[in-house]
Every structure is written in structure tokens, then in C-alpha cells.
């Protein structure tokens, strides 16, 4: 875990303290809050890179950022669910797996 100072050092050219705090206030970043300080895990830093890319390189505005991040977070949640489901399915018998595959390839069956 890294403190806010360490993160600012890492990205010094990219972002200043005020902007970073602004990102946190907007909930774009949700680092761990502890002892009145922020602590950044790897995922928070990776996400900060993404936010910087979107705001600075692509120039998405603040309202747009809310929409983009909300959609992205939904997308990744669905991906996580999908992967779990996939894992659950691969533990089933080959027959059942084939059955599921078939069900999913059949369009609008029994209607």
C-alpha cells in the first residue's frame, strides 16, 4: 500500500495533490481510508492511470467521467460474474456443459 505522497511522487508529471483529492471526492477513486490518511493499493494506482488517461489524454469532462466510470464498473462486475459462472460450469459434467452450450446457442426456443 502506498500513501498519497508516494502516489503523487510516482505520477508527479501527471497529477497534482488537489486534482487527486478531487478524484477521491468524486468517488472516481476509492482508496482505503485509515488514520486520517489515504492508502492506495495496486488497483487504485492502476485506476488512477486510467482516470488520468481519460481526463487528460482523451479529455473526457467531469460529467462524462461519471458516466464512463459507472459503465465500466458495471461491465467489470458482469465480467466477474461471468467468469465465476464459467468456472462453475466447467466443473459440471461434459454432458451438462454441452447441454448448456446448446441451450445458449438456441435462439428463442420453445416460444
Amino acid at each position: 500500500m502506498k500513501t498519497i505522497e508516494e502516489v503523487l511522487d510516482m505520477l508527479e508529471a501527471r497529477i497534482d495533490r488537489q486534482t487527486l483529492e478531487d478524484y477521491i471526492n468524486r468517488q472516481w477513486l476509492r482508496p482505503i481510508s485509515q488514520d486520517e490518511g489515504w492508502y492506495f493499493e495496486e488497483i487504485d494506482i492502476a485506476r488512477l492511470h486510467l482516470v488520468c488517461h481519460l481526463t487528460q489524454d482523451i479529455e473526457v469532462n467531469d460529467e462524462g467521467m461519471d458516466v464512463v466510470l459507472s459503465l465500466l464498473d458495471q461491465l467489470y462486475k458482469i465480467r466477474a460474474h461471468t467468469q465465476k459462472l464459467h468456472q462453475a460450469i466447467t466443473k459440471q459434467s461434459p454432458e451438462l456443459q454441452a447441454e448448456i452450450r446448446m441451450m445458449m446457442s438456441v435462439e428463442d426456443s420453445n416460444k
Partner: protein
């Protein structure tokens, strides 16, 4: 092979800084790996775009490249973090940022597969075919031995009442012993029967005397000929039902069609002429009232 940053960004050699910026943004939006989590090649492409942009947006480096002093790869690479957000968001820590969008139910997960994570791709061991079957075979069921385009011969049991587009699975008949064959069924139309779900409809021609006097006739059904009675005075369009003569528990609907004799001879003309003098009727009365 030497890569050309102009080609990567899709700009001309004399493109202005603004042109480059616009081109870069457009491509970056499209290929950012975090925005395209299902596309494995997006990461590589994105890196390339960034490298090209880093070179072309730097006046000195761009000039050096134009003079042929450096190649694109000779430049310090775009400092991309080792792992992108996608790597974490897809991992266990990712749940911290995951958000529900309204109702999230189990069906959504299934529909999410079709766009997604590669599960949907059929294993190589399965074989996929499509097969055209006769209308009657589809309606009453049949056993068929069919040679597929890949020369494989399959014994197919067509179940009674199979529908257009339905899929049949033949276990163990894939390209490999552990795979299955999937057969999508298409139904050939029939010259006299047509079908709506489990019900069959046909149009049955009747003669003028049959129409006037009524008759006992033979009606074709998918199960063979069936006796039926045409009531006296049946018109074109009169429809009756043969219960249980459709597919499985379905019915057959018979719509009558009055067919006049090919030639109106003197006898008929005389008979009708005589009859009509005393029995005029107007079949369009209801229609005229409705106007």
C-alpha cells in the same frame, strides 16, 4: 519490420500537431485496453498508438525521425504501467469498484456470455450441420440416414413436430469421439399442407355440385386420407376442422375453395339462368350496408 508512426496514427507526413492530436485521441478511445476488456489485442495496439504519438507530438523527435536518424522503436517507450486497470478489475480486488446497474438477475449473466469471455466458443470436437427435412418428416417424425457435406453419414432421428430452426444433438458424433454433432433443422415447404404450430391447414377444391348438394369426400391429411362431409351449400372460404389430424394433438383446418367447371356449357347456363329468374340474391348486401 520497421513501424511507421504516421501509418499507425493514420495521418499524413505533413500532418499538423492538431491533426496528430485528434487522430491519437480517436484511436486511443477505441483501443484503450481498459475500455475493451474482451479484446486481447487492444493492449498491444494501444501501446503502439501511444509510442507513435509520443514520437510525433515531440517536435525534436519527430524531426529526427523524419530525417531518418531514429526509428520508432528506438525511442523511449510510452511509460505504461506494467499492469493495466483491467488486470486488477478482473481480479479479486476488482470487486471494490464493481457497481450494479439497476436490477441484476441471473438471466443477465447468461446473456452476458454471448458477447463475452470465450465460453461460448464451441470446442473443436463438436460438429455443426444444417439439414433440410421434408415437411411430412418434420410433422410426423422420421428416421433418416444422411450424408453430410464432410462425407460423414449420420443416422438422424427426426422427432415428431420438430420446428424450423430447432437443433438436434447427436451425442458422440462430432469431429472427435468426445464431441457431439449439432444439426439445425430447416423444413422444406409442402405443396398442399402448411403449418402453424401444431395445426395444419390446407385449401381443398370442391366442385359446383359438391358445393350445392353437399358431398362425402376424401381429405388428405399428414396422417393419410380421411373421410369428411361437405355440408350442402358450402362456399369458398368455408373452413372446417378435423380434430386430432394435425401434428401430435393438433388439428387440421380445411378451407374450401369452390372451383367452377372449366367450360360453362349450354346446360349449365340454362339451368342457372332459369333458376336465377326466381331466386335472385345479393351476396354483397352486408358489404353495401357497411359503406
Amino acid at each position: 519490420m520497421a513501424k511507421n508512426p504516421y501509418e499507425i496514427l493514420g495521418v499524413k507526413k505533413d500532418a499538423s500537431e492538431a491533426d496528430i492530436k485528434v487522430a491519437y485521441r480517436k484511436l486511443a478511445r477505441k483501443h484503450h485496453p481498459d475500455l475493451n476488456p474482451s479484446d486481447k489485442s487492444a493492449g498491444e495496439k494501444f501501446k503502439e498508438i501511444n509510442t507513435a504519438n509520443a514520437l510525433l507530438s515531440d517536435k525534436e523527435k519527430r524531426a529526427a525521425f523524419d530525417r531518418g536518424e531514429i526509428d520508432m522503436e528506438g525511442q523511449p517507450q510510452y511509460r505504461q504501467q506494467q499492469q493495466t486497470y483491467r488486470d486488477f478489475a478482473d481480479g479479486p480486488q476488482g470487486s471494490r469498484y464493481h457497481t450494479n446497474g439497476g436490477d441484476f438477475n441471473f438471466e443477465d449473466i447468461f446473456s452476458a456470455f454471448s458477447g463475452g469471455a470465450g465460453f461460448n466458443r464451441p470446442p473443436a470436437a463438436d460438429a455443426y450441420y444444417s439439414l433440410e427435412v421434408d415437411f411430412l418428416d418434420a410433422a410426423i417424425g422420421a428416421k433418416k440416414r444422411v450424408t453430410m457435406p464432410d462425407r460423414k453419414t449420420l443416422d438422424i432421428n427426426i422427432p415428431e413436430g420438430i420446428e424450423e430452426g430447432q437443433k438436434l444433438r447427436l451425442k458422440g458424433k462430432g469431429t472427435q469421439p468426445n464431441g457431439d454433432a449439432y444439426i439445425t433443422v430447416q423444413i422444406r415447404p409442402h405443396p398442399i399442407f402448411s403449418r402453424k404450430g401444431k395445426d395444419i391447414t390446407i385449401e381443398l377444391p370442391i366442385s359446383l355440385p359438391e358445393s350445392v348438394l353437399g358431398a362425402k369426400i376424401q381429405v388428405p391429411t399428414i396422417h393419410g386420407l380421411v373421410k369428411a362431409t361437405i355440408p350442402k351449400g358450402a362456399s369458398s372460404g368455408t373452413t372446417f376442422r378435423l380434430k386430432g389430424k394435425g401434428i401430435k394433438s393438433g388439428d387440421q383446418y380445411v378451407k374450401l375453395k369452390l372451383v367452377m367447371p372449366k367450360e360453362i356449357d349450354a346446360d349449365l347456363e340454362e339451368a342457372i339462368g332459369k333458376w336465377s329468374q326466381t331466386h335472385a340474391y345479393n351476396p354483397r348486401m352486408d358489404m353495401e350496408k357497411a359503406l
